[in-house]
Homo-oligomer: 406 residues x 3
């Protein structure tokens, strides 16, 4: 039986609101299916517009084995390209980021302009049609300063997410910001366990003592039921700040207050950065939390934002990248103490790493059996898993499903 048929059979037989069968977290063939159905087809958060504010600036990202270049072209547009020379396939750009007037492959010096057009192929003379050998484009879109890329030829619609995120995140001014700290954790766990962990906070009380000094735990399934939240929403919306949680099939965007009396995720709940992001009216705007499956979850406060990207690097390994972002004019040592800025999330990330690695070791066991998600507090996990299962079923059934439905 093929891996696809095995997966489909398990998906059809699985118990709803229960965690997935073991092979979803361990089988190399299942990871390959995840990559081709999801990481090579969906919108992936790759970085920030402010990282490439000038034409020629670029960064590279490796999405499940495929390196891409994200750059700003001479027309000030964000562009994406597969980082593979059209000659013999070499990586064109070895650097993680930088600034170039053209992309010159280090192997045989084929060179491409910032729009991906092949300028010169020194060893080929005039033998080839240059217009046929430009860098292959990757779809990109920027929403309120955050860049998403899609490796597929025909990307899925990202309009719903953009409509929810743009107005809510715009006031945080991420286009006029800068990344001041970045870490990448290599976590020994399947990417889905990393995302599941990020979709609930039941583990927070015991797992994240630093975070829980300030973070509000609430009812994922029904935030309106909590007057502390609904009052906050009314206040924020009245002040022109879109805040009410919006759920889409593959995203959630919503603003939440901190625990009473706190202004940011810092050791003491006071702001980490004096200079606020964007044009926010005060530090008291809570935290805009936004997540887009499969690759990202984020928190934007008034003083700083943390953006998280997760990408699989093996069936039992995930790379988790975290960037700390502040206003571009914030001055280290004057406007913020870098230690205070990163302390809580750095500790939290490392605690999450240990939690998901223990989870991975357990689901690998002969004795592992899917268990129940809590209706309220694991609502977010359950939504993510339902999305994952539906996405894989659609992918695996493909045209056949359409035929049989006709």
């Amino acid at each position: 039986m093929s891996a696809g048929d095995r997966m489909l059979e398990m998906l059809d037989r699985r118990r709803r609101r229960f965690s997935l069968p073991g092979p979803f977290y361990t089988d190399p063939d299942f990871l390959r299916l995840d990559i081709s159905a999801i990481f090579e087809r969906r919108w992936i958060y790759v970085g920030l517009e402010c990282e490439i504010s000038e034409p020629g600036q670029f960064f590279t990202v490796d999405i499940a084995g495929t390196s891409i270049i994200i750059c700003r072209d001479r027309a000030d547009q964000v562009r994406g390209f597969f980082n593979s020379c059209r000659h013999r396939g070499s990586i064109v750009c070895d650097a993680a980021h930088g600034k170039r007037s053209a992309f010159v492959c280090p192997y045989h010096q084929w060179s491409y302009d910032l729009g991906g057009r092949l300028l010169r192929a020194p060893n080929q003379d005039d033998a080839i049609d240059k217009s046929a050998f430009g860098l292959k484009p990757v779809h990109v879109t920027a929403i309120a300063g955050v860049i998403y890329a899609c490796l597929a030829a025909s990307p899925p619609d990202i309009g719903g997410f953009a409509a929810a995120l743009e107005p809510a995140l715009a006031p945080h001014g991420l286009r006029d910001a800068k990344v001041v700290h970045e870490i990448t954790l290599r976590e020994a766990a399947n990417w889905k366990l990393v995302m599941e962990n990020a979709r609930e906070c039941d583990h927070c009380a015991a797992g994240h003592p630093e975070l829980m000094r300030t973070l509000l735990v609430f009812d994922f399934a029904d935030p309106w039921s909590d007057p502390y939240i609904s009052d906050f929403w009314k206040r924020c919306e009245a002040a022109g700040l879109p805040s009410v949680t919006k759920d889409g099939p593959d995203f959630r965007v919503g603003r939440l207050p901190f625990q009473p009396g706190h202004l940011s995720i810092t050791p003491d709940g006071r702001e980490a950065v004096k200079r606020r992001l964007g044009e926010l009216p005060s530090h008291d705007v809570g935290s805009l939390r936004f997540a887009l499956y499969p690759s990202t979850f984020n928190h934007a406060h008034a003083d700083y934002a943390i953006l998280v990207r997760l990408l699989p690097s093996g069936p039992e390994e995930t790379l988790v990248n975290c960037k700390w972002v502040v206003h571009k004019d914030a001055v280290e040592g004057q406007d913020y103490d870098p230690q205070r800025l990163v302390e809580v999330w750095a500790a939290t990330n490392d605690q999450d790493r240990k939690l998901v690695e223990r989870n991975q070791r357990g689901v690998r066991s002969l004795g592992y059996e899917p268990g129940p998600y809590a209706a309220s507090s694991e609502f977010g996990v359950w939504r993510f898993v339902e999305w994952y299962c539906a996405t894989m079923q659609d992918h695996l059934r493909g045209p056949a499903a359409v035929r049989s439905a006709a």
Copy 2:
């Protein structure tokens, strides 16, 4: 052709009394079959009762990817559980050993009593039936203080081994002992090569100079033929010490003398520990050697015992764990010198590691061809390999074999 069919075809065609074809030692799919047919179905030596002498004490063992907890419950019984939380599968117990009043999963604090019963599932309120979500049990049995576990729902009969081992090992009093040294070697060889190496001593003369100062080499196929052994057996049995070698389909238990004039496996053949194990009448009781396929071979002398466990961690990698055990009241520095205690077996283990690693490199070769086991001196290897082949054939033929035999 499936891996099972390939293995079965090779088993049917193999030459008897010859080593196995190369893929048995190298193929990842064959290891998966070994694990599901053998390591997940047979009795595996996991530890000692004296390591968990008090209620709440536990240790964890990883059997080919499946972590289990072995603990003593409040009724003083040895219990085994799959170390996987019934909520989302996390490892419940991260520690190698310790003492707990309950097992609390570090992820979401589901807690279980020492009998595995789910006590609390904090995030689920009363939504779930707690009786349906206890830790899944693992079968355990203790024989003369040594604990064996079986991951299968219906374990095979261990009665023959228990009947042979219990009376012979009981006088060594391993229940009133303690582990004073432990090492785990990571050997770059298939688990079967590690076991084959342990089932013969033809390699000892050249390979183990320290061991051969005291260890007796004898006729594996017919120990009675050696009067030195048969006289020793008569003397021991007369003194009430079961000693004559007993062979079962998957085990061997027998007491053997050292070379004349020696009392233990030490650099000089004198005892390493003054305080004898159990209630043994003298230091002159030779060595009770006992092995149970697939995972263990052991030597119990009057002064100390060494217990060895081998478990596959890859097609070409095996973890070999060794514990040195003395009487619980033996005092380091007074009753024994730890250096003298471990010296010979530590050297021997490391020599064996090199031998099996060279063996592995050779069987991986295109030029490798199964070769002949010596009738007498490799009798033990041959028996093990026959057991392995029969076990795999039974497993692979499964119900079909039963049908065709009916």
Copy 3:
């Protein structure tokens, strides 16, 4: 679909003069096919006669998982054997090189003479027919002092290569030489990318600044067109030095001048070694370049030779071994400065490693698409790739192709 069928379909559909589809550089199953069709069947460069100048001297080489012994026997013949004991398969010779009067397996002391005959099998008494258990032979041939081995029972014809290489290389006297420096690089790239890189010098100008001070770049497809080369060939041939490039289906042998005014590949183009190799008339004999698919490319100058061997150690990993060879009587510090001797090629090798590793990262991409080889400057790459594809097609079609053609 089997890996063989998948490969065959891709070979049939591939675009000529374009690089290979991605799976040829990344798929573990494709590497297995490469190994069985090529590395286990073709002639592989293994070492030099001068490394085993005396009877009993040997070295070992690992060819894609199969260790072999190359030794000189008592009749002064070079012999090859699978390094796997006929008893239980252990490696017989653990050392990389040395001198032995017989090969004694370290496991159970089965011993073999220098011709591979089993002398003693200590544990088997007279139970086995010794003549049936000699070390299995490996075909070897030496050409002008360079040893090639073939693991197949029926090696392909190497006569064409020998006829081209022997007269051209003999004057360099490699039989009376010595290896004075050796390195092995572990390169994170498929073996074919390593060979492709070595079959063109388009990357040299930008990639190898040290090398390009002296190395001549020329028209691979038509060297005769360059009067600098044709004049050099006429001069050399007149002096009795075979030089004109000879191409075979799987090899190329040809002498080329350095850039004008240079005598060797050194930082300044002057010779690195005063004592010339063999009986060469002067230092001004250029460089004999010779390559044999799949495993080797080499440069023999008047003063020293560098011999390179590449062998796959994984789908995305290749071991590249380089030996620097000088006249056996050349004295370090007097005739040559070891630093000057190795400097350029050591730098070049490391630069090539980085180039092929970038190439590997790119061909792994979803965005990779085979690209065009330049007609002239990548002629050598294209020839190698055509050979590779034809070899694999012949292998995969096998007897069926013969039948269908009949």
